[in-house]
């Protein structure tokens, strides 16, 4: 305890640092262990050795066109191959290192590096001279099949198939590009072609020249003798009606080498006129576009070809594909810059770098979401309409119920008016008598103050009693909505019997109450429930009073019913109800009384049902009828 309290922060830090080191070491070990375990588990199930493909580029690895091409080839082959493929990439970088020593060094390097690798395929990407990248495999690995992809005008040795080589030569689509150019810029009268000085450059220029001579009304200007470094300013000064076509400048007059994308990045932004290109990978530099070589498409085709060779087809049996058809492709940003309407574009033209709108990117999601929203909205609207409809109907029913209850109460009140007047005149009469008595007492010379005090107390008591009667009467008369409160039915029955008492006495009917002890409370509206009780009691009294029976009795019983409810029964000793009338009894306007409205029982039923209860009538075994109703018991408070 004491020692642990006595630690120094330094010591803690030191020990924590040490712990962290140990943790890191363990972590590293674990990870390396895991990695071995993972490679092992991945490799193991593969029965066949992965196919090994060497990708041989004559240029450096950061040439944009080659990067796109290599990616496309790899992904296409991976798509096709069920098994793992191993790719190796090597770059001769002939543009930067063009001397023979380098070439020899690279050749030796490759020979040594891949001697024991059992290559399955070599993919060559020769760019200037087929022999540079293309001859290497022949010399080094004569037994390995070769598939090449070339984008330029290079000379392919006519007997190359005999060497176990196949491939694709994708030539620039000069005609297509010029066509697109004139289509998009119809008022072009001058085309500035920027080209280089190498053989390949000149070959391309030659083809452009050939195409140009077929076009009438357009003047072609070949800028081949200017250093590229001067050109940004020159293209910036070109007048309208001119366009620029970038050919290849593998080397300019000053000996500088350029890739097509470099050139476009230098010239397109400052150019005062649209710049057209022939390589798809050049787009994004500011150039408008052209009928370009599409790296992805070319890579995919090359991948498919390579896959067939890997599958066992001898290259010499696969003819070399020579393609000159480009893919119309434009840069959306450049279209905007030159105010070229998208409507002018050919139908198959690919538009790159268009800011993807929410709509384009997520059209499906948006559409399906919209559909869902719409469906939801329709459903909700439907439900709302239904609810509104039901609400209105309910409100109407509720209003009618209130109205009917009121009518019924008022008519019941008519019957009970005398009873209530009696109730009220009792306390009022008592007050009057007491007051008169007090006046008399006060006339004495020595008034009996104790008596007068007693009188005043009695007056106060009777006054309150009168108030209660008035409240009860008012609540009976008021048109009101259903309230829901815990109601003690026993108490309510007592109160109701008190109201009916004088009426019963006048009609010589004995009212008896039998309320079982521990009667559960019910949830309901006191006034409405009293209304029901009164209706039933008055009905019972009518039944016994009319019949001239010797015994005139109405018995009100309340007991816990079966289940969570309370059952109230009002029995009379009358003549009973004809069996065929038992059901119609509760229909509105059904009455057996000459002055009856026929609403009492209908309203009683409405009110009982509004409380979630049931009401019915049955004939007694001996004589008379019993009206019963149930009400759900209020949930007991725990």
């Amino acid at each position: 305890m004491l020692r642990s309290l006595n630690y120094s922060p330094n010591r803690f830090l030191r020990s924590s640092w040490r712990a962290r080191m140990i943790f890191l070491v363990i972590l590293a070990l674990t990870i390396s262990g895991l990695r071995t375990a993972m490679t092992q588990t991945v490799v193991k199930p593969e029965a066949a050795r992965p196919k090994r493909i060497l990708m041989l580029f004559s240029e450096s690895k950061d040439v944009p066109g080659n990067i796109a091409l290599e990616q496309a080839v790899r992904s296409e082959m991976r798509k096709l191959s069920p098994n793992r493929l191993e790719f190796f990439s090597e770059h001769l970088d002939a543009s930067h290192f063009s001397d023979q020593a380098h070439y020899q060094f690279f050749k030796d390097y490759l020979g040594k590096k891949y001697a024991g690798q059992n290559l399955d395929l070599i993919m060559a990407f020769p760019s200037r001279d087929y022999t540079l990248a293309g001859a290497l495999p022949d010399a080094l690995f004569p037994d390995v099949p070769v598939v090449f992809i070339a984008v330029n005008e290079l000379e392919v040795p006519y007997n190359i198939s005999k060497l176990g080589v196949t491939g694709i030569v994708q030539r620039f689509d000069i005609r297509g590009t010029l066509g697109l150019m004139l289509h998009l810029q119809p008022d072009t009268h001058r085309v500035v072609v920027i080209g280089g000085t190498t053989e390949v450059d000149r070959a391309t220029l030659g083809r452009i020249h050939e195409e140009a001579s077929a076009l009438e009304g357009v003047e072609f200007d070949f800028w081949t003798n200017r250093p590229v470094a001067e050109m940004p300013a020159a293209v910036g000064a070109l007048p309208p009606g001119t366009v620029v076509l970038l050919s290849t400048v593998l080397r300019d007059v000053t000996g500088q080498t350029y890739f097509m994308s470099q050139l476009a990045q230098m010239l397109a932004p400052p150019a005062h006129v649209p710049v057209f290109v022939m390589g798809g990978w050049v787009l994004g530099s500011g150039a408008v576009g052209g009928s370009v070589v599409d790296s992805e498409d070319l890579g995919a085709r090359g991948g498919q070809l390579a896959w067939r060779v890997l599958g066992g087809i001898k290259p010499e049996n696969l003819p070399i594909e020579m393609a000159t058809k480009g893919t119309p492709m434009v840069d959306w940003q450049a279209l905007k810059r030159w105010h070229i309407s998208e409507r002018r574009l050919p139908a198959d033209c690919i538009v790159r770098f268009r800011p993807v709108t929410m709509w384009e990117e997520h059209r499906k999601i948006i559409l399906s979401s919209l559909a869902v929203f719409l469906a939801q909205a329709v459903t909700i609207a439907g439900l709302l309409a239904q609810r509104k409809h039901r609400r209105r109907a309910e409100a109407e029913i509720s209003r009618q119920r209130t109205e009917l209850a009121h009518v019924s109460r008022v008519s019941t009140m008519g019957q009970l008016a005398s009873a209530l007047a009696h109730e009220l005149s009792q306390p009022l009469g008592a007050i009057l008598r007491n007051t008169e008595a007090a006046e008399l007492f006060l006339k004495n010379d020595t008034p009996d103050l104790a008596e007068i005090r007693a009188i005043l107390a009695d007056i106060r008591k009777d006054d309150q009693r009168a108030g209660t009667v008035i409240d009860r009467m008012r609540s009976l008369l008021k048109r009101r909505e259903l309230e829901s409160n815990p109601v003690d039915l026993g108490e309510l029955i007592e109160e109701t019997v008190a109201v009916a008492w004088s009426d019963a006495a006048a009609r010589r009917v004995t009212l008896t109450m039998q309320v079982s002890a521990n009667l559960p409370l019910v949830l309901g509206d006191r006034v409405h429930l009293q209304q029901v009780l009164l209706n039933l009691i008055l009905n019972g009294m009518d039944a016994v009073a009319d019949g001239g029976q010797a015994e005139r009795m109405v018995v009100i019983q309340a007991a816990a019913g079966t289940g969570e409810n309370v059952e109230v029964a009002v029995s009379d000793t009358g003549t009973g109800i004809p069996a065929d009338k038992l059901k119609s009894l509760f229909e509105p306007f059904f009455t057996t009384k000459p002055n009856g409205l026929g609403m009492g029982l209908a309203i009683s039923r409405t009110l009982v049902e509004a409380h979630g209860g049931k009401i019915w009538a049955e004939n007694n075994a001996d004589r008379g009828a019993t009206f019963k109703f149930t009400l759900p018991a209020a949930p007991r408070e725990s």
Partner: protein, 212 residues
């Protein structure tokens, strides 16, 4: 105005305890001797022929109501006058009460003056009826001393028959008829046929015979 019959009692009967108390209190303050009963049966149970006074009662009461109380009193030997103090009364009930001889029919909210007047009237009537009842009883006692033959003769006398006719009808001689008549007038303490006839009427003798 307190009547002479101050010893008379006002019997207040009402099932409403509060009103019973206040009404009794008022009547007592007004100088009456008051006895309060919460039910008709309690009152009727202690009623004797000697009881003198009047009854003030509610019309509607649980158990025996006011009209029944009135009827029971009327049947008794001592039909005390009844003043009804009703909370409210419908016309049929009122008519019935009055026909049964109610002294008055007041509402509970009638002013004290009316109540006291009604009570005074009832007490006065009670005193009067009491006197009449005593006289009648006295008269009846006198008639009761008559022999059957004398009653027979009397019945003919009050119908205005001559002695000779009476003798003929009864099959007795004239002297005997005269003797009976002398005895009659002496026992009934009357001096003329007219007076005799009035008394017979008051006592209610020979009613059936007269109507036939």
């Amino acid at each position: 105005m307190i009547p002479s019959a101050i010893t008379d009692t006002v019997f207040v009967v009402d099932d409403d305890a509060s009103f019973l108390k206040s009404a009794s209190r008022l009547l007592r303050a007004a100088g009456y001797t008051v006895k309060a009963f919460e039910s008709a049966s309690a009152f009727l149970g202690q009623l004797t022929t000697e009881t003198s006074g009047c009854v003030v009662t509610d019309l509607q009461m649980s158990g025996c109501n006011g009209l029944e109380l009135q009827a029971a009193l009327a049947r008794s030997d001592n039909p005390l006058p009844v003043v009804f103090l009703s909370a409210q009364g419908d016309i049929p009930t009122t008519v019935k009460a009055m026909r049964q001889g109610a002294e008055d029919f007041l509402t509970k909210l009638s002013p004290k003056e009316k109540l006291l007047e009604a009570v005074n009237r009832a007490l006065a009537r009670n005193a009067l009826e009491r006197t009449q009842r005593e006289q009648l009883r006295d008269l009846r006692e006198r008639f009761a001393t008559l022999s059957p033959r004398e009653l027979e003769v009397l019945s003919h006398v009050v119908r205005g028959k001559m002695n000779k006719e009476i003798a003929g009808e009864l099959g007795i001689n004239l002297r005997t008829v005269k003797l009976h008549r002398t005895n009659l007038t002496r026992r009934l303490q009357v001096h003329s046929v007219a007076e005799l006839t009035r008394l017979v009427e008051a006592v209610g003798l020979f009613k059936a015979e007269r109507t036939t």
